[in-house]
Amino acid sequence: MDYGHPLRFGVLLTPGEPAGPGALEDLMDLARLSEELGYDLVAFSGGPAQADPWTLASWAAGRTSRVRLLAAPAPDGNPAVLARAAASLDLLADGRVDLALAPARDAGAVGEAIDVIRGMWSASERSPLYVEGKHHRVAGADRGPAPARTVPLWIDGADPALLRLAGQKADGWTSPRALGTPPASPGDTAVEEAAGPEAAPAAAGLATEGPAADRSGADGAWLGELVAAQDVIDAAAAEAGRDPREIRRLARIAGRFTPARGGFLAGPPEKWIADLLPLVVDAGFATFVLEAGDPETLRRFAAEVVPALRTAVGRERRARGVVESAPARSAFVRSKRREGIDYDAVPASLAATAVEPGDAAYARVRSTYLRGGSPGLVLRPGTPAEVGEAIRFARTQPVKLSIRSGGHGISGRSTNNGGIVIDVSRLNTIEVLDKETRRVRIGPGARWSDVAAALAPYGWALSSGDYGGVGVGGLATAGGIGWLVREHGLTIDHMRAVEMVLADGSQVRADEHDNPELFWGVRGAGANFGIVTSFEFEVDEVGDVGFAQFVLDATDTADFLERWGAAMEAAPRDVTSAVILGRPRPGQPLIAQMMAVVDSDDADTIVSRLQPLAATAPLMDYSIQVLPYAAVMHVPPGTHDAQGEPVTRAALADHLTPELSAAAARLVRSGLTYFFHIRSVGGAASDVAPDATAYAGRSANFQLVAFGHNRRDLDPAWDALLPHFSGQYINFETDRRPERVREAYPGDTLRRLRALKRRYDPGKVFRDNFAIDPAEDDVTPGAAAG
């Protein structure tokens, strides 16, 4: 019996008595030492000192960074509270938590607790949780939070009912007693006072079942007992429709290194290896947790037993034809899988961080800032090589593919229904490459708020949109119309190089010298050619800025738009502003919100720049602050949980002419848009030639977007405005008609992009955001006739 699980090694730490400050400090030193020595997990027992094992594990999470924590709560606690505590610990520890349900005598109570815990973690279900059990009752609790990753649940116990429960519901089973020879010195003994049933909650955690048993007996009967226990688990698993390999098996062990061979786990390392090997290949255990209180035993086990045991197990498994593989996702998780995705073929490097609908983290990754989604699989590569593997896998799957950086995409859908999402949020580093030239390298998964905060200490900034929650990748491959655009141009105008993964999974660098045509295309149509894994930008010196918010009476809407447009075109480049009009309300003035950033910390300059803007309509309220640019961009991180699908139309316009202003006013008055937003552009963005990048709309002084309730109403109303526009900025437009692509990429720009698409993505792997059709050629009437 060998389930083929990879070997893992852990340490169970128990404080000595009395539990003074020194004892616990020593314990935590051992936890850190275990991490340094390469152990995979650390567990804590309260021991005879009755320390709280949950507190010990939570503290250890704060003092370690890699090792997993097999956290055990005090027994008999409230499972709904425990679910939140475990999710919280997993969030704080960045997904390093396993949860051990304390040894319990009543399998029924443990089974109900598991239902409560899993129900609380199912944050993607919007209905409250009800569990009406004999032992535990939950009556309409809000679900959540979900842990960072699906937290494996372990059951500890030898009672047949607990074994069956482990088979039915758990992710792991823990043998209840330490196998082996207790450490020699009385001070290190793992023997503890047996707590009477009435004394609960006394000792807690993994080590309440009494003394480590000396398994030195030669008859091997105890190995048979363990195999019998595994059989009970496996039978229950099969009955529940599970693969027994879903359930990890953990053996607690204790022993001592001695020159002479003694009983079980007493002797030199070779004796330990000989003793442990049958536990792996005959009794199905692949996780061993060593009960040890001294650094020397931990060191020797890590150095002299673990590597040799791995070798021995590998040899034995090869001889027996046992294939090594991590436990499959549980039947519960698999039951939520979607059709069309070969989940078992997900590359191993991506499987651990991938999220599928049954996983706890799904609630946090399914939807985006503005769009509800239910993808079948979210891949979260952490390196460019993993991005390559993700693309290579995704292109073999007959489902939609979406690419996500910060999840604010409007045109770039970045989620889907039943398809695959490649989420690059883990590629989020921000580093300075050269102080002299202000050259920085930024991962696509960073958010602009984080970029601004990282550059602030240098007195630098990179103009990059007007909302800090937006991710780098989606914006920096399209344009980037930000608060400093008139002074410093588009975000893409600061780009000096990219490294990206192409549709075939290969990695390339593109800049003015290497792959210059690709570099041209990435700046405005990047989403068509691959996934950028890092950007290099040359950023600007930016100090504090003036940040103003005005509330204006825009009842005379056309007049206001025309005046504001003229004021912006006349304004020096150090001011950039935007206006937002909401839906008109009967009997009330139409309110416009105007925001402006002045790239100056001089009060007189700020005021002189703002005065003409404030005079464009009757002023109702205003605030002006001098702030670091990073403060303007500051948005606390959070997860997205939108529902539905945004309906927008967008365009670029050179001027807010009287005709356009009047037409836009009619649109607003119609009530068909509830959020109408015009950003100023022009300035430095217009210094760049239209053919210098794939962003062609260089003549535009304004970018417009209207949010509506449905396509049927918004499209005709917006189409009526088309004669007034000069182009398209792709990132705000959700209309999928092919004319939009031609607006964004007119004439030669589109011809060049098609040639690039034919070269880099002829199979149209990337079609999430303004897809360019490689096959379609410009058809002139003459050519069609010929």
Binding site: P18, A19, G20, P21, A23, L24, E25, M28, G46, A49, Q50, A51, D52, W54, T55, L56, S58, W59, A60, A61, G62, R63, A74, G77, N78, P79, A80, V81, R84, A85, A87, S88, L89, L91, L92, A93, V116, A123, P128, H136, R137, V138, A139, G140, A141, D142, R143, G144, P145, E193, A195, G196, E198, A199, P201, A202, P636, P637, G638, T639
Partner: protein, 303 residues
């Protein structure tokens, strides 16, 4: 009275939001760096948007060096006292005596019941809290080597081994407003921890202090055995006519009055703005200490 003469403490009150856990930890570290004495977190285990306060405090304690930590206040109905006692002692030992136990009787009974907790009337909740204090102190008392038994109406402990003992005498601070709770503060607790926004008037503070003092005397305790702590909120900026709305100097004067005339000696500022935390720790706290020290020495020499 009042001015019970305690040294002054200043703290923060950070929302334990689970959307960005490391930001919460960073605010606690920011509080420590700003010179604050105390970091506190509210505890609403039925609130899905929050981190589990106990887990968070344990983690934050491991990520800080000097600052003290407390729940503000820990929800007793969903945290049974025997587990709480051992967890508190463990955290106090791990942190080198930096943990204090702000404790509340519970109030949102629908939510508590939805989580599987037991619904109590407000009066029962006060009695349960009183029993819980006995359970907690009894388990901490390792000087007594007998097995610990409590056969209360709400909590039972049938012959448990005592311990662990905390590293220092953990203060039990109660959130309290009504007379029964205030009397419990006076008779058993180490601190009174109300929120200024829940106090109807400054006179109500004086009345509450009197109830606590009387109950303390009834239990044979000095009024000074009960520290008075206050959760406050406000804003920094141009002088306003509301309490704690203005520049740091104005805050300091008002907090000095609350210390010298209303008996408070700890101020915990609610809010998650790192700039405000820096101002509170770096500017307000030293000013209040200076004002109070000056006045206390003047009063001392006048006596």
């Amino acid at each position: 009275m009042p001015d019970y003469g305690h040294d002054l403490l200043f703290g923060s009150f950070i929302t334990p939001a689970n959307a960005a856990p490391q930001d919460v930890v960073a605010l606690a570290q920011e509080s420590e760096a700003a010179g604050l004495d105390l970091v506190t977190f509210q505890d609403h285990p039925y609130q899905a948007a929050f981190l589990d306060t106990w887990t968070l405090m344990s983690y934050v304690a491991a990520r800080t060096e000097r600052v003290r930590l407390s729940g503000n206040v820990v929800n007793l109905p969903l945290r049974p006292p025997a587990v709480l006692a051992r967890a508190a002692a463990s955290l106090d030992l791990l942190s080198g005596g930096r943990f204090e136990l702000g404790l509340g009787a519970g109030g949102f009974w629908d939510a508590i019941e939805a989580m599987g907790g037991r619904r109590l009337t407000p009066g029962q909740a006060v009695d349960a809290l009183s029993e819980a204090i006995d359970v907690i102190r009894g388990l901490w008392d390792t000087a007594d080597t007998s097995r610990f038994r409590v056969d209360g109406t709400y909590y039972q402990v049938a012959g448990a081994k005592r311990g662990p003992a905390p590293a220092h005498d953990i203060g039990i601070w109660l959130g309290a407003y009504k007379p029964r709770m205030l009397r419990l503060v006076g008779s058993k607790a180490d601190g009174w921890l109300p929120s200024l926004s829940y106090m109807e008037s400054l006179d109500a503070i004086t009345e509450a202090n009197a109830i606590i003092d009387e109950a303390a005397a009834g239990a044979g305790r000095e009024p000074a055995a009960v520290r008075r702590l206050l959760n406050v909120s406000g804003r920094f900026g141009a002088a306003g006519d509301r309490l704690l709305s203005g520049p740091p100097e104005q805050w300091a004067e008002q907090l000095a009055v609350l210390t010298l005339e209303y008996g408070f000696s700890a101020y915990i500022m609610m809010g998650d703005d790192p700039a405000a935390i820096r101002t509170f720790g770096g500017e307000v706290a030293p000013l209040v200490r200076e004002l109070v020290a000056k006045e206390r020495s003047a009063r001392g020499s006048a006596r």
